[in-house]
């Protein structure tokens, strides 16, 4: 080992119009370590790694790799230097096959042309290394689930034989098994003297995996320390700059609530196979299970997106699934959905924050056929205040917000419609602890106001901490309905794998 760290940044600053994303950051990362990077939403983590990976150019400061000063003007240059990054926004090409994607920039070639056979074999080998033999290298990435895509993304990075591997929230959509695989992989890489930078909002992941932790706040590098040298509480304090108390708001005492939303024997294509579920007013029902067991489809069905849904749906006495989101959001059902992927399904990124907030509730700020500018402004300001969205001006493009604040915009948009049924599809994915807490508190507050909340999460801790009841889905049906003390990790995991002792209650 040489004396120098593999990667060393000095005095890096980066400004965007109006925001200071990074300010005079010094940072170093050693070979053969897994280095965690923590920080609130908007702390500048993604900006930092984009600079390292050659996507962005810093305004000032220098970067050394292996003791050499480098300046990357595009990602391919960084790749050539052994810096490989898995970005927060996936960088897979949906219309190419898995094999094409894995060998995207530097495919094996014969006579100047891509050797598809070699490419396929290479892809199979890399996929095998992360235990994804089930992924056919010839399928289009478009046809994979989000979690499979994330694994392919990891395979793709691996295929580039990185010397520095950066994972920017690359495990946010993974199933538990895959997460384990990734842990093993990172451990192996550490053996091979590869440096890894690991960004995640899941404290437990970071705790378990990383050797060194760095905390960022407001574009500054606050501190770097060895794992275990700080308590969780300290780490959180470093991240948000203040003390945090209990992570989850207290749950109210369990009580019987008449169902407001109830679903019986819901069937759709081969994704929903007789799901039965109910949610009462004032109740937060968690939806758990392995990724891709039909949770997303269940929500889409309730929101009127799916065609040809069979089974019983009843919302506040109104029978039948709505025929479209437009019908769903209006009286008498008043359903809203915070979708899985905020960038493509939740937001119009180039449009202003105000326009995004209003998108679901034009009728509420209209007088006759016309939108009233006064009411409009008031509504927008109220929404921003209610969720404490950090914005410069409501007229800025929503794309300029950090991930967490973007998610808040999506939630605020729906709260403006005053919904009675709130469907949340993994709303805390990629969101920092502080914001997560705000969202938990908000959920509870909304429930207390008498709304029915269905909350899908891939994070067991959330389900346990937040929900009054938890329904676990397996293969398109609800296989367990946990209440009270039954909501614990063991029960959830057992039911998720459908190895629980209970017979599915659904089919009655």
């Amino acid at each position: 080992m040489s004396a120098q760290p593999f990667l060393q940044l000095a005095g890096i600053s980066k400004h965007f119009a109006g925001t200071r994303a990074l300010e005079n950051v010094d940072f170093a990362c050693e070979r053969g370590t897994i280095h965690g990077v923590l920080g609130e939403n908007g702390a500048g983590k993604s900006t930092l790694i984009k600079i390292i990976a050659g996507v962005l150019k810093p305004d000032s400061g220098s970067m050394q790799i292996d003791g050499q000063f480098v300046e990357f003007s595009r990602p391919s240059e960084a790749n050539a230097a052994g810096v490989v990054c898995i970005f927060q926004e996936l960088s897979l090409v949906p219309d190419l096959t898995v094999a094409d994607n894995i060998c995207l920039a530097t495919p094996p070639r014969r006579l100047g042309m891509i050797d598809r056979r070699a490419q396929r074999e290479f892809a199979e080998a890399v996929l095998a290394r992360i235990k994804c033999e089930d992924v056919d290298p010839n399928t289009l990435v478009r046809d994979l689930s989000l979690s499979r895509r994330q694994m392919v993304e990891i395979a793709k990075a691996l295929g580039k034989s990185p010397r520095l591997l950066i994972l920017d929230e690359a495990t946010s959509a993974l199933t538990r098994n895959d997460v384990e695989t990734v842990y093993e992989l990172l451990a192996d890489l550490r053996q091979e003297n590869v440096a890894s930078l690991f960004i995640s909002h899941r404290m437990n992941e970071v705790e378990r995996l990383c050797d060194t932790l760095s905390v960022f706040r407001n574009g500054r590098h606050v501190e770097t320390f060895a794992k275990g040298s700080r308590t969780d509480r300290d780490v959180v304090r470093l991240m948000i700059g203040r003390e945090v108390d209990a992570q989850f708001p207290p749950k109210p005492a369990a009580m019987a609530r008449p169902p407001h939303l109830s679903v019986g024997n819901l069937v759709w294509e081969n994704r929903l196979k007789g799901a039965t579920l109910s949610v009462g007013k004032g109740e937060i029902v968690g939806l758990g299970g392995l990724d891709g067991q039909g949770q997303k489809e269940l929500m889409l069905a309730l929101f009127g997106v799916l065609r040809g849904v069979e089974g019983r749906v009843d919302v506040g006495g109104v029978g039948g699934a709505p025929s479209s989101p437009a019908t769903a959001k209006r009286d008498p059902r008043r359903i809203c959905l915070v979708p899985e992927d905020r960038k493509t399904e939740g937001l119009m990124l180039p449009m202003s924050i105000a326009d995004n907030l209003l998108a679901a509730s034009y009728s509420r700020v209209s007088v006759g056929p016309f939108i009233n500018p006064g009411q409009e402004r008031k509504a927008v300001d109220a929404a921003i205040a209610k969720l404490q969205i950090k914005v410069g001006s409501p007229q800025d493009a929503v794309a300029t917000l950090s991930g967490g604040n973007q998610q808040k915009v999506v939630i605020a948009k729906w709260l403006m419609t005053d919904p009675e049924v709130i469907l949340l599809n993994d709303p805390t994915r990629g969101i920092d602890v502080g914001t997560k807490q705000e969202i938990y508190r908000l959920m509870r507050q909304l429930a207390d106001e008498g709304r029915a909340i269905l909350f899908y999460s891939t994070d067991y801790a959330e389900l346990i901490g937040c929900c009054d009841r938890v329904a676990i889905m397996y293969d398109g049906a609800i296989v367990a309905d946990l209440t009270g003390a039954d909501i614990n990790e063991e029960a959830i995991v057992g039911a998720s794998l459908n190895i629980g002792t209970r017979a599915p209650e659904a089919v009655s």
Binding site: V55, R74, P75, S76, E77, A78, N79, C85, F87, E89, L90, S91, L92, V93, P94, D95, L96, D100, L104, A105, T106, P107, R109, G112, M113, I114, R116, D136, N138, T139, L140, R142, K156, W268, E269, E297, L300, V305, L306, R307, G308, S324, E345
Partner: protein
Amino acid sequence: MTSLGTAMRQNRGFYGAVVLLAAFYLLYNLLHPRGFSTAVLIQNANESVAIVFVAMAQTIPVLLGGLDLSVGAVMTLAACIASVLVNGSPLQIVFGMVVTLAAGTAFGLCNGLIVVYGRLQPIIATLATGAIAMGLALFIRPKPGGDIDGDLNWALTNSLWDFVDTYGLFDPDTVWFAPVSWIPVPLLIIVVFGACVWLPFRRTVIGRTIYATGSAEGAAYMSGLPIDRAKIAAFTLAGFFAACGGLYLAIQTASGNADITQAGAYTLNSIAAVVLGGTSLLGGVGGAIGSIIGALILRVMSFYFRILSIDPLLQPLVEGVVLLAAVSLGAFRVLRIKNRLELFR
């Protein structure tokens, strides 16, 4: 088997187009008094070369997710250049052809440079450069005309037999030549360009970058693909194919004609051909072979007016309705979609 199944599923549009073309063309030949003859094949092929090339040209920018509204104009410009240069001694003729193709390619290169370094949307940049190409064509050929070598005209618009015969290469009736002598030269030109330019190109890194960029530009950039070079290459290749179309058009008509309406019609038809051939206007999916099929479908549709008795004043209506119906075939996909979010891809 599964991989064939996968390929079929991934290229549904393309295979649908192949079936449609086969059905249309078979029926046409059955109805034609001299169906399935070399003469008919030659005629059909001749008529199709220009639109086939222009459709191939259009495909590549479309794969990028853009449109090239200048392909028809570049074709016309090339034809006008060819009408001035392609004559004289064999050497001069070859020189003229090279200059023609080079000019079209250079124009495509300019399109690419403007799109990449001017950061303009291709559709609007090429709308403007198309006008410039038309202007240049009009400067070169203020009125139709030109004297393209007559032998060349005859040799390239007939079967291989006539080609060999025109240039006296060898005795065209020799036994070994008989099995291939019936093949129309225009058909051969299409096949050769499809197989020797497009297919290899598709397998290069630049070719794949075009697909990747059309599918997800951000991802392609993040993955370190040479997007700018791919865009420039795409428009350059489009210019090249358009110039091929123009060169053939000039040889076929032994003249050049800076006809604005014809140029516009070729551009629009090229888009129709690309869509009929299963290439997505959103980019990333499809290919030039599909566009060849699409262009041929467009052509075959119009052949029917010559063998069926349709009131001449109803023909434009029939033509429009058939075009609309053909492009609507793809809509059956929509009726099968059960998750409405998939509609917005």
